[in-house]
């Protein structure tokens, strides 16, 4: 679709079209029922308007057939609607496996983004067109919400955990980014831009930004500074389990449960280590809650992800 449909924002992601199609269906359904009821009401009201002061209505006051009709037909319609909506929803929240991951941190009242290659931006995010892009997001204070109307997607950004969102931009351009969860005085100024660039242009842009250390590297430095290595090395036998090859694996816990070592788990392991104790280890790891920022945690996670190996 290349012409501009009134009141429909720019379609700039692979999902935009899907969402709009759902919308058109919904609007069609609503128009149908609105017209149906309006015509029915107006026609009956005028056709059976009171012509004499003492006139009363008829005694026709129930019909099982009608009752069933107007229960079952709307029911089928809404079930269909539900199914369609759920399909789109799962696509909206299940990132493709090859998505490139960016980190986004919300704080009153700005968006901080970090590229996998280390570039940082504030209230801006530059991404190449056509690249499946996943944002791993958290907040340093209250709940925010990351919303790009042109991409038809949003997700709340919640302190204390990670949420994520993905999109594949289809059109170069600058698109509004809004915070849609009320977050305090400057909520309406917590806005920014997502800039979608042609791949070459994006490369040029990346090169032009002074590269700070990539998160994984920064994480490695932190790892050294916080002396994590005192307990975690590649070879087993220290106080803590080796972290090599940990990411994505199932971890057995002391209480018999198993959990998958995803970002959320790594984060919790660093900030609240005792909550999930690895089987075979003592809960001696101190909490780093007060020593690291959200960005530090992300860097540490990236570093741990980069530790390849099959230790254990």
């Amino acid at each position: 679709m290349n012409f501009k449909i009134p009141f429909v924002p720019e379609q700039a992601s692979t999902m935009a079209r899907d969402v709009d199609q759902l919308t058109f269906f919904l609007v069609g359904m609503a128009v149908f029922f609105t017209v149906l009821i309006a015509v029915m009401v107006l026609y009956f009201a005028l056709r059976y308007r009171r012509r004499a002061a003492d006139q009363v209505g008829s005694s026709f006051d129930h019909s099982t057939l009608l009752e069933v009709t107007w229960t079952v037909i709307p029911l089928l319609i809404v079930l269909f609607t539900f199914g369609w909506g759920a399909k789109v929803y799962f696509r909206l929240y299940r990132p493709p496996a090859d998505a490139v991951q960016y980190y986004v941190t919300g704080k009153q009242w700005m968006w901080k983004a970090q590229h996998p290659t280390g570039q940082r931006e504030i209230n801006e995010l530059h991404v190449p067109v056509g690249q499946p892009t996943r944002l791993l997001m958290t907040s340093e204070d209250v709940i925010h919400s990351f919303f790009v109307p042109a991409f038809r997607t949003k997700a709340d950004v919640v302190p204390g955990r990670y949420t994520s969102l993905w999109f594949t931009p289809t059109k170069p351009g600058r698109y509004h980014l809004f915070c849609t969860e009320y977050c305090g005085a400057e909520h309406s100024r917590m806005i920014g831009w997502v800039t979608v660039q042609e791949p070459e242009e994006h490369q040029r842009w990346l090169a032009s930004v002074p590269v700070q250390t990539a998160p994984a590297v920064a994480g490695g430095e932190l790892y050294a500074r916080l002396a994590c290595g005192n307990c975690h090395r590649e070879e087993p036998g220290l106080a803590g389990p080796p972290l090599h090859g940990l990411f994505g694996r199932e971890v057995e816990l002391a209480d018999g449960r198993t959990v998958r070592a995803d970002e959320q788990y790594l984060r919790e392991s660093i900030l609240r280590p005792g909550a999930k104790v690895v089987a075979g280890y003592q809960p001696v790891m101190p909490s780093y809650q007060s020593q690291v920022t959200e960005e530090n945690v992300l860097a540490l996670i990236d570093y741990i992800k980069s530790l390849e190996g099959v230790a254990r």
Binding site: V56, T71, L75, D156
Partner: protein, 548 residues
Amino acid sequence: MSSEAMAAERPNYLNATTGLKSWLLTLDHKRIGILYLLGVSAFFVLGGIFAMLIRLELVTPAGDLVQPDAYNRLFTSHGVLMVFFFLIPAIPGVLGNFLIPIMIGTKDLAFPRLNLLSWYLFMAGGTMALGGIIAGGVDTGWTFYTPYSSTYTMTAVIPVGLGVFVNGFSGILTGLNFMVTIHRMRAPGMTWFRLPLFVWSHYATSLIQVLGTPVLAITLVLLVFERAFHIGVFDPTRGGDPVFFQHLFWFYSHPAVYIMILPSMAVISELIAAFARKRIFGYHAVAFASIGIAVLGFLVWGHHMFVSGQSVYAGTAFSLLTMLVAIPSAIKVFNWSFTLYQGSVSFQTPMLYALGFIGLFMIGGLTGVFLGTLGFDVHVHDTYFVVAHFHYVMVGGTIMGYLGGLHYWWPKITGKLYPEFWGKISALLVFVGFNLTFFPQFLLGYMGMPRRYHAYPEEWQVLNVLSSAGASILGLGFVLPVLYFAWSLKKGPLAGRNPWGARGLEWETDSPPPTLNFDEPPVMNHEVYPYADGEPGSTSGMKPASAH
């Protein structure tokens, strides 16, 4: 005329006793209804003034009229006052209180003292909230989401939260009172299926009040504790989960939207029956639909949290159930519309409101179904689309019903007739102003305009100006009734027992009714809404419509 004049001189609940004290200590459900009328009207005017300031700010894209934090206080105060202190107590407090005992043919509610206490709790809660709003204000949005409300804001969350808490108990006690009354106090012959639909719908409302409101109460207690003592249940830095607050909040607040709409639906059923002079089509279906809404309404709260980080699987279940809760509403709309078929339809003011209700509630409800559709909601959540949806159901739905009901029973409550011409003008203004205010907001929302924004990108100005223009028409539409109702108290012609030729026990007693409602304890010896069969209690020989 002379018999009407006589009726007005007879002792009634208004002139039975006099003096301020006789009002402030009254146990008469009808007087308490009037006390509610005064209370909720005051809160409505305040909430309305806040709304006008919001719309004034949004005329220009730059945030130039008020500072951002003042704006945040405006919409929060607007939402809190309108929802908790106007819309939820309005119809049950005023019309429910006044009418339920009369409609079921008894002398009063089961617990008159409790009823008075409810009003005082409502006023006390309102005063606390208002105190908080004046001294310090509150800027969390009416939803009080943590951790902003618990840890970050500097505003008066505690007094406002406690105000809502206290007011909650007012609602719980009212609901309890209604339920016991409906169960235990019905006149002889008044079986469940002879109850007016007004009563059924209020019964459903009461169920929600009793089952839902306590969860809000404890949630607010936890919020206050969190704020005062940092207990950590909603604080991620102490291991709490802020999203848990949303679960607790919406467990109440979604059903609460049905606390708002069911009483209005109650009114609409009565209006349509009276002005189509016909028994409501599918009486049983409509009655059960009320209960269905109340019960299913408890199973869908997660639809406010589709993008909150709630599990997508839970979201899916909530979406499915949301679809189901739309069905009983659909059943009601179809039955009301079909009642007009072979009716004897007249277009006095209350009926205009009722017809307006059907149209606007339907649009609001259908857009509710949009929002319940997962893939769609992700895009429009927390945008003006949602704002438009809920004003369509709350203003286009509930307030239309409330105003229609006030007009319809005004003669019964006061014994006086309001001026029909001005009534129609105001109904028209409200309808037109309302659509102009809120329809553009659907478009704004789909285009991406977030809610709770005090400034916005320029490309959205035109629609915002339209919306603000509509709001002023709407405001005018709301001011008019205040004026002519006041006028009618002094100058309005006497109403007589049954100015509409309507059926129902309330029309078989004086206007205004005597203190104990009936001279003789009534007996219900016929079906409800007996328009077609000229049952006892009818005015002289009405003819069926099919007879012409």
